[in-house]
């Protein structure tokens, strides 16, 4: 597949029939909650869209997102997208390595300056540039450098979107999410800045570079393809929620779409993982399910091509697409329960209260006893005030 083929040509080269292609566009339209009338429009756009150049930078991450997004058993939608895009740089997947790999990245940036998509997974440690580097270049500088020419940045996974596990308390590396990093360091000059090589003439302030957060640990594969398809079709970002996540996938909470919701409403809960309730598929709220406060498409799109999702397999949702979900006070404790041991506190407080109460009570008693002791008899003549004429 040559670089300058259009997506349509690339798909036909792989033997995908016109009908198969239209079926793909319809599926993408429905995924993106777009009206059916948009299908021909998507098909026409994808037909002639040049295969986008995608640079994938992996910083402080566990490669779980890559693993999830590239896993494909049968020719799935993700597969078609990945094969239709030109993934110019992905240091886990690309064959090249060392300086050759870096050369590829630089040439891709130069050739598609301003048009390529930058996908980031993993958080950026700002504590010390040395914590995480690629080919000797710190993640901070590489991001600043690559972001300059990017049309948009897709932060894949909760680490890139919100900081994820590196960001979890105590956050030793001072990890930052992409958005947080750009806000803080966006206007800085990368140390690796060289004027001519990459065709950049002067430093580009990347603070307000558009970022789409595709949170989740890992995120659902189809979400990335949906976002790419949307970007290729409309040339701009899909509608985002307050945390920069595509509304189409993160608009509704798991709880709202959970098939076990009727049990929650009726108050039928599993109290332990193997009790009668769990076997009957009752609500897992009591086992720490974070469904009510987690926004993602797991309950509808589900995982592994619609096979299942955590709750369906009997495990409470961890809330992995939400910020700070690692610090949520325990996966098996509901979000609304106290984190500390209230009972112990209450018991100590009762003790302290009782002690203080008894002391103050004794004070009351002695004061009143003194009053009664110093009681001066009220005789018949003591009922008029002294001055009363």
């Amino acid at each position: 597949m040559t670089k300058d083929q259009t997506i349509g040509e690339a798909l036909r080269a792989r033997g995908v029939s016109r009908r198969g292609f239209l079926k793909f566009c319809a599926a993408t339209a429905s995924l993106m909650a777009l009206p059916p009338a948009m299908v021909p429009k998507i098909a026409a756009a994808l037909e002639k869209a040049r295969r986008p150049s995608v640079i994938w930078l992996s910083f402080q991450e566990c490669t779980g997102c890559t693993e999830s997004l590239t896993r494909s058993h049968s020719p799935t939608i993700e597969d078609l997208i990945f094969n239709s895009i030109s993934l110019d740089y992905h240091h886990t997947l690309q064959a090249a390595s060392g300086t050759a790999a870096e050369e590829d990245r630089k040439t891709a940036m130069k050739e598609n300056y301003g048009k390529y998509l930058l996908v980031v997974d993993g958080s950026i440690p700002v504590g010390n540039p040395g914590f995480s580097t690629i080919a000797g270049v710190s993640n901070m500088d590489m991001l600043l450098e690559t972001a300059a020419g990017a049309a948009a940045i897709i932060a894949v996974g909760t680490c890139a979107a919100f900081g994820g596990i590196p960001y979890a308390d105590p956050n030793p590396t001072k990890a930052r999410s992409v958005t947080a990093f750009l806000k803080e360091y966006g206007n800085r000059l990368p140390n690796t800045f060289t004027v001519d090589e990459t065709g950049q003439t002067d430093p580009v302030d990347v603070t307000n570079k558009p970022v789409i957060n595709v949170s989740g640990c890992p995120p659902i594969p189809v979400v990335i393809s949906g976002v790419l398809a949307h970007f290729l079709t409309f040339g701009k970002l899909p509608e985002l929620d307050s945390l920069g996540r595509p509304m189409a996938f993160y608009g509704k909470s798991i709880h709202d779409r959970c098939y076990r919701r009727p049990f929650y409403d009726k108050g039928l809960f599993a109290n332990s993982f193997d009790d009668e309730g769990a076997k009957k598929g009752w609500c897992l709220y009591k086992l720490g399910c974070k469904g009510p406060t987690t926004y993602n498409a797991c309950a509808t799109t589900k995982w592994n091509e619609g096979t299942s999702f955590p709750i369906q397999s009997g495990h409470p949702c961890l809330g992995c697409s939400e910020p700070d979900f690692w610090d949520g006070g325990g996966f098996y404790k509901a979000l609304s329960t106290p984190t500390g041991d209230i009972t112990r506190t209450a018991v100590y407080a009762i003790g302290a209260g009782a002690a203080a109460g008894v002391a103050l009570g004794a004070l009351n008693r002695s004061k009143r006893a003194h009053m009664r002791k110093t009681h001066s008899k009220v005789g018949i003549d003591d009922l008029e005030k002294g001055d009363k004429s």
Binding site: S242, S253, Y264, D265, K266, G267, F269, N271, Y285, K286, P292, T293, E322, P323, D324, F325, D327, G328, G329, A334, L335, S336, T337, P338, T339, G340, I342, T343, T345, A346, Y348, A349, I350, A352, G353, A354, A356, G357, V358, L360, G361, A362, N364, R365, R368
Partner: protein, 219 residues
Amino acid sequence: MTPAELLMWVRGPALQFATVVFVVGVAVRILEILLLGRKPDLAEARGSEVIGGLRTIISRSIPDRGTLQRSSFNVVAGYIFHAGFFLALFFFAPHILLLHDVFGVYWPSLPTQFIDALTVVSIITLLAVLFHRITHKVMRFLSRPSDYVAWLLTILPLITGYLAFHRVGLAPPLLMALHIGSVELLMIVFPFTKLMHAFTLFLGRYYNGAIAGRRGVNA
């Protein structure tokens, strides 16, 4: 302070603080009362003080016909928002979970839609109660600032609870934090206001019933 961090703070240290203030406060107030004691009654008893006292704790919940006629709003509205508040507190599933965490006991919960509707009714009733306190000449005359504070602290958990349940308006963790925070506010101010009646009314009714019971009168 992101909503999630606020929620963690509210579920953690703030809740500890509120629990301490609440428990110590209530314990002190009750002991301050009890240790003042009551002189033994030397008059020959006609009826039993204990039976009279215990009986009144229950019977005083049923208003006599005259009171029901003359203050029907107080009685009806009072029952509605108290019932709504307690049913939501003790029979809403997540609350039972919370109470289990503290007291280690489970009991069946009521359907959430029922609790939800009940909460709305209670909120509306509490607003009506406020209107009544402001417009009824006796209640306005008697009311002190602490009455309005207590009213506010009673309605806030219901409103924030409703919003947190429906996750409308703000981010869910923030709504949850506001709800738990409003309960903590209620707990902290509780021992310093008339909310103490939740505990002292049993003692008060017992004394009333006992004093009358000794004389053979069902108070």
